[in-house]
C-alpha cells in the first residue's frame, strides 16, 4: 500500500508530562500487587523468627507445629537443598538459621498451612531452644574488634596541609526504615517438574533468580521470577525476604504458597538504612576555600553483609560533598554487629555522609561569618574538576553553581499567620504560644553517583518488538512505582516516531537482566537500553526499505508511505534486542584513588521551619530545591520523585528512627515509627536544572535519590538556625530541642 502522509509529532514522547500506563488499574483498584495474588489450592506461609539478637540454637522442635490440623509443611535449614546462605554481595546470610542466630527477627523455620491464621499459630508453636549470648550491638566496639564488612581508606593530597580556620564535629544519623506502604508479599507456584514460578516484591528479578536457584539446588531454568505489583521499595526490596522460603515451601508441598508480612514483620523482614557515626574535621582559608577534609565514618551494617560494602563506599566517596578540595583523608567502616541487617535505602550512604559534610559546611560558614550558600558557591565542584575523594575527573555536566543560584532565586516565604492554629508547630492539638514560634532557614547541597560503580559490569537488556499495532517494549526491570513504564514508553515513542507503544514487564526466562531498580539508575539504564533498541530497530527497518522516516502509517520515503506497519510485519513481529552498558567504571587503588563512578548529580535544598522551643516541636514550612536532572523526560513525574524524596528526607530529619535495645526493635509499627503525614508535608518548589548528562537517554540523569539526600541536613540546619542549638543528630527529637 502507498499513500501520502503528513508528519505529525508523536504524542506522549520525551519531555511531556504524560500519564502513567499503569495509572488506570491503580486508580480503579485493579492493579495486582503481590499481596493481591491468588491461586487455586493455595497454602499460606508464615515464618518463625528469632526472639533474641544473638544466641546458639540448641534445638528446633517442629513436632507440635507439624501435628496441628491444617499444617502441611514445616521447614528448617536441613530442608535447604542447595546453598544454605544467600546475599546480594556476599552470600553470608542463612536462608534459615541453624547453629546460631545473629539478629532479632532472624528466620529460623517456615510453615505452610491451609489458612493464614493456622500458619501463624503453627509458626508460633515451633519450639525454639536458644542459649542467649550477649549481642554485639555497638558498631564502634565492632570496629575495634575487627568485625568489619569493609574498611575503605581514602588518602588524597598532602596530609600536612592546613588552613587558617578549623572546624570539627561529631554527628550521628539514626536508623531509618524504607516503610513502603505495601509490605513484603509473594506467591510461589510449583511447575510440577521440580521447578517453580515466583511472583514476589522485588527491585531486581535476576539477582533474586540467581540466589534462589542456588539455594534450591535446581538448574537456573527451573526458577522463573516474574514481575508483580510492588507497593513502593526505596531499597527495601533489593535484598530478598521471603523469596527462597516461598519456593522451598512450594516445592515441598507441591502446591502454590502465598505469604504476606504484616507491618511488624515487614519492619523485621527487610534491611534498613545504615545508622551512622561520623567524625569530621574541615580546614579552610580565611576566604572560605577548603584546604583539607578529614573524616571517619562508621556505618552499622547489622548482622549480615547485604549491600554494606557498596553503601560504605558511597559514604566514603561522597564524604566531602560537591566541593573542591585537594587534601582529603577518609576512613569508612561498615561494621558487622548483631543489629538487624542494614542495606539499601534511597541515597545509599550519601545520605549519612551528607548530614556530616553539610553540618560541617554550616559550622565553617558560621566561623567565617559567611553566608552559608556563598561558602558553598566558592567551593562548588564542577564539570572538569577532580572529585575531592577519589580524584576522578567529572566528565559530564555538574551544575553545582547553578543549583545554588536557582535555589537562591526561589522567594523566601513570609512568616506564617499565627492566628491559624494549623500553622503552628504541633498543629491544632497542641498548645504552642504564637509568641514563642521561632523561624529558621537552612541550606544543604548533595552529590550522588548514578548507576552502579566500582567496576561492576552494569548491564541492562531490553527488547523492542514492532507489530502491526505499533511497538512493544520488553524488559525485566522492576517498576516499583517510580514511573519506569511511563518513561520507557515516552523514550520508545520519541525514538521510533510511533504513538502506540506498550511496555511489557517480563520474567527472568524471557530476557536478560535489567539490573536493579536502585542507584537512580533505571531511567538511564533501562531507558538507555530502550533508546538503543528503538534507534537500531528504526535504522534497520529504514535501511531495509530505503525509507527516510518511520511513522504510525509505516515507512515513509519522500512523503510517500512505502510500507505499512502491517506490511513490515507480514512474516511476523520484528524484534530487536540489545544490551546497554554505561561507561566503564574502575576499582580504586589502596588510597581510594581512581574512577569508580559512571555519572553524578547534584541538588540543593532550602528548608524553612517554625520551631516551638518550649515544646520542642517543629513544623517544616517549606522545602525548596533545585536539582540537576540532565534532561527532564517527564517534568510532572520528576516533581513527584522530588516531593516524595523530600518527605523521606524530612522524616529522617525530625521523626523517623527505628529504636533498638540491644538489637531488639522497639517500634516496629506505624504507631511508634512515625511517618510524615499530610499535616507534616511542607510546600515544595522545585526548579529542574537541565544540563544534559553524558550518556543517559536524551541527556537524562536519574532523579530518585538526590531529593532524599540533602533535604535532611537542610531541615536540621533550619532548626539550628531557629534555636541556636548544635543538633548533631538526625532525627532531631523534641527532647533535643527542649533539653539540649
Amino acid at each position: 500500500m502507498t499513500g501520502t502522509t503528513v508528519k505529525v509529532p508523536v504524542r506522549g514522547g520525551v519531555g511531556e508530562s504524560t500519564m502513567r500506563p499503569d495509572g488506570i488499574p491503580k486508580v480503579t483498584g485493579n492493579f495486582a500487587f503481590a499481596s493481591d495474588l491468588y491461586a487455586d489450592g493455595m497454602l499460606w506461609g508464615a515464618t518463625r523468627r528469632s526472639p533474641v539478637a544473638h544466641g546458639r540454637i540448641r534445638r528446633v522442635d517442629i513436632g507440635a507445629a507439624l501435628a496441628m490440623p491444617g499444617v502441611v509443611a514445616v521447614l528448617t535449614q536441613a530442608d535447604t537443598a542447595g546453598r544454605r546462605t544467600f546475599g546480594l554481595e556476599e552470600a553470608d546470610q542463612p536462608v534459615l538459621a541453624a547453629g546460631a542466630v545473629r539478629f532479632w527477627g532472624e528466620p529460623i523455620a517456615v510453615v505452610a498451612a491451609h489458612d493464614p491464621d493456622t500458619a501463624r499459630r503453627a509458626a508460633a508453636a515451633i519450639g525454639v531452644d536458644i542459649e542467649e549470648l550477649p549481642p554485639l550491638s555497638d558498631p564502634e566496639v565492632a570496629v575495634e574488634q575487627g568485625s568489619v564488612v569493609r574498611h575503605i581508606r581514602i588518602r588524597r593530597g598532602e596530609p600536612d596541609a592546613s588552613g587558617a580556620v578549623v572546624v570539627e564535629g561529631y554527628y550521628e544519623v539514626g536508623q531509618q526504615d524504607q516503610a513502603p506502604l505495601g509490605t513484603e508479599a509473594g506467591l510461589a507456584i510449583p511447575d510440577g517438574e521440580g521447578g517453580v514460578d515466583l511472583w514476589a516484591v522485588s527491585q531486581w528479578l535476576h539477582a533474586d533468580h540467581e540466589q534462589i536457584h542456588l539455594s534450591l539446588g535446581v538448574a537456573p531454568d527451573q526458577v522463573r521470577c516474574h514481575p508483580v505489583g510492588v507497593g513502593g521499595a526505596f531499597g527495601s526490596r533489593e535484598d530478598m525476604s521471603m523469596h527462597i522460603h516461598l519456593c522451598m515451601l512450594a516445592l515441598r508441598t507441591g502446591r502454590p504458597v502465598k505469604m504476606v508480612y504484616d507491618r511488624a514483620e515487614s519492619f523485621t523482614g527487610h534491611v534498613h538504612r545504615h545508622p551512622a557515626r561520623m567524625w569530621y574535621r574541615h580546614e579552610a582559608n580565611e576566604d572560605g576555600a577548603l584546604v583539607k577534609v578529614e573524616a571517619k565514618i562508621i556505618l552499622d551494617g547489622g548482622a549480615y553483609a547485604s549491600t554494606t560494602s557498596a553503601v560504605i563506599a558511597n559514604a566514603a566517596y561522597f564524604a566531602v560533598g560537591p566541593y573542591r578540595v585537594d587534601n582529603v583523608s577518609v576512613d569508612g567502616y561498615g561494621a558487622r554487629t548483631n543489629n538487624p541487617p542494614a542495606g539499601a535505602m534511597r541515597g545509599f550512604g550519601a545520605v549519612q555522609a551528607c548530614f556530616g559534610h553539610e553540618s560541617q559546611m554550616d559550622r565553617l560558614a558560621a566561623r567565617l561569618e559567611m553566608d552559608p550558600l556563598e561558602l558553598r558557591r566558592r567551593n562548588a565542584l564542577g564539570s572538569g574538576d577532580p572529585n575531592a575523594t577519589t580524584g576522578q575527573i567529572i566528565e559530564g555536566s555538574l551544575p553545582t553553581v547553578r543549583v545554588i543560584d536557582e535555589l537562591a532565586a526561589i522567594p523566601v516565604p513570609d512568616p506564617a499567620d499565627p492566628a491559624d492554629v494549623r500553622n503552628r508547630p504541633g498543629g491544632t492539638g497542641l498548645t504552642t504560644d504564637p509568641g514563642d514560634i521561632r523561624r529558621g532557614i537552612g541550606y544543604a547541597l548533595s552529590i550522588k553517583n548514578l548507576a552502579f560503580s566500582e567496576a561492576f559490569d552494569d548491564s541492562c537488556e531490553a527488547s523492542v518488538i514492532l507489530t502491526p499495532m505499533g511497538a512493544e517494549v520488553r524488559t525485566a526491570a522492576c517498576e516499583v512505582g517510580q514511573g519506569l513504564a511511563m518513561v520507557c514508553q515516552q523514550i520508545a515513542r520519541t525514538a521510533l516516531g510511533l504513538n502506540h507503544v506498550a511496555v511489557v514487564f517480563t520474567d527472568t526466562s524471557e530476557i536478560g537482566s535489567a539490573g536493579s531498580t536502585s542507584a537512580s539508575r533505571q531511567t538511564q539504564m533501562t531507558g538507555g537500553a530502550v533508546l538503543k533498541a528503538c534507534e537500531e530497530l528504526r535504522d534497520r527497518i529504514l535501511t531495509e526499505h530505503g525509507g527516510d522516516d518511520l511513522t504510525d502509517d509505516g515507512v515513509v520515503r519522500g512523503g510517500e508511505v512505502v510500507a505499512t506497519l502491517a506490511e513490515l510485519c507480514a512474516s511476523g513481529p520484528i524484534e530487536h534486542r540489545v544490551v546497554f552498558r554505561h561507561p566503564e567504571t574502575f576499582s580504586t587503588d589502596e588510597n581510594g584513588q581512581g574512577a569508580p563512578h559512571a555519572d553524578f548529580a547534584v541538588a540543593a535544598h532550602r528548608a524553612v521551619v517554625d520551631v516551638d522551643p518550649e515544646l520542642g516541636l517543629v513544623r517544616v514550612v517549606r522545602v525548596d530545591t533545585a536539582q540537576d536532572v540532565g534532561t527532564a523526560l517527564n517534568p510532572m513525574s520528576i516533581r513527584g520523585q522530588i516531593e516524595g524524596g523530600i518527605m523521606q528526607g524530612l522524616g529522617l530529619a525530625v521523626m523517623e528512627e527505628l529504636v533498638l535495645d540491644e538489637g531488639r526493635m522497639l517500634n516496629a509499627n506505624f504507631t511508634d515509627y512515625l511517618l510524615p503525614t499530610f499535616a507534616d508535608a511542607p510546600d515544595v518548589e522545585c526548579r529542574l536544572v537541565e544540563e544534559p548528562g553524558l550518556w543517559g537517554p536524551f541527556g537524562a540523569k536519574g532523579v530518585g535519590e538526590p531529593p532524599t539526600i540533602s533535604s535532611t541536613p537542610a531541615v536540621v540546619a533550619a532548626i539550628r538556625d531557629a534555636t541556636g542549638l548544635e543538633l548533631i543528630r538526625a532525627p532531631v527529637r523534641p527532647e533535643h530541642i527542649v533539653l539540649p
Partner: protein, 160 residues
C-alpha cells in the same frame, strides 16, 4: 462465633457467613475476593484500607464486619463500572500525579470522595486536614492535594 452479615457492596447485595470478630477488610479481601482495598498496617494508622460505609470514610481494618450489617459499603471498585467512565476523583489522580506505586491510592481516593461529598470546594488546607489519616510514602502528598483540588473543580464543572 459465626453469623450472617448482609450489606450492599458497590450497589450489589452480599451476604456472608463469617466469624463475627473479623474485620470488614478481611471479609472484603479474603472472603469476597475484592482486592482493590489494601492493607498497609492493619491497625488503623495508614488509611490504605479506607472504604465508605453509608458514605462515611472508615478504616476497614479496624471495622468489625458485623457493624457493616445492613449498611451500604463502597470500595474503590464501586467508583467505576468496567467499560464506563472514571469518576472525577480517579481522573484527577491519574492526570495530576496523585498515584505512584498506587498502594495508598484506593484508600486515598475513597477518603477524597468522602471529603468532596461533604465539602465540594475544599481549600488546600482543608484537603490536607481531611486526609491526614492516609499515609503515602511515595508522593510527598503535594500532587495528591493537587489531584483532589482538580477533582473538586472537575465535579463543580460537571455536576453529577
Amino acid at each position: 462465633m459465626r453469623e450472617e452479615v448482609a450489606f450492599r457492596l458497590n450497589g450489589h447485595d452480599v451476604a456472608v457467613e463469617v466469624d463475627v470478630h473479623r474485620t470488614l477488610l478481611d471479609v472484603l479481601r479474603d472472603v469476597l475476593g475484592e482486592m482493590g482495598t489494601k492493607e498497609g498496617c492493619g491497625e488503623g494508622e495508614c488509611g490504605a484500607c479506607t472504604v465508605l460505609v453509608d458514605d462515611a470514610a472508615v478504616v476497614s481494618c479496624l471495622y468489625p464486619v458485623c457493624e457493616a450489617d445492613g449498611t451500604s459499603v463502597t470500595t474503590v471498585e464501586g467508583l467505576f463500572e468496567p467499560g464506563g467512565e472514571l469518576s472525577p476523583v480517579q481522573t484527577a489522580y491519574l492526570e495530576f500525579g496523585g498515584t505512584q506505586c498506587g498502594f495508598c491510592t484506593p484508600g486515598m481516593i475513597m477518603a477524597s470522595v468522602a471529603l468532596l461529598a461533604e465539602n465540594p470546594d475544599p481549600s488546600e488546607e482543608e484537603i490536607r486536614y481531611a486526609l491526614t489519616g492516609n499515609l503515602c510514602r511515595c508522593t510527598g502528598y503535594v500532587q495528591i492535594v493537587e489531584s483532589v483540588r482538580a477533582a473538586a473543580e472537575l465535579m463543580m464543572e460537571r455536576p453529577a
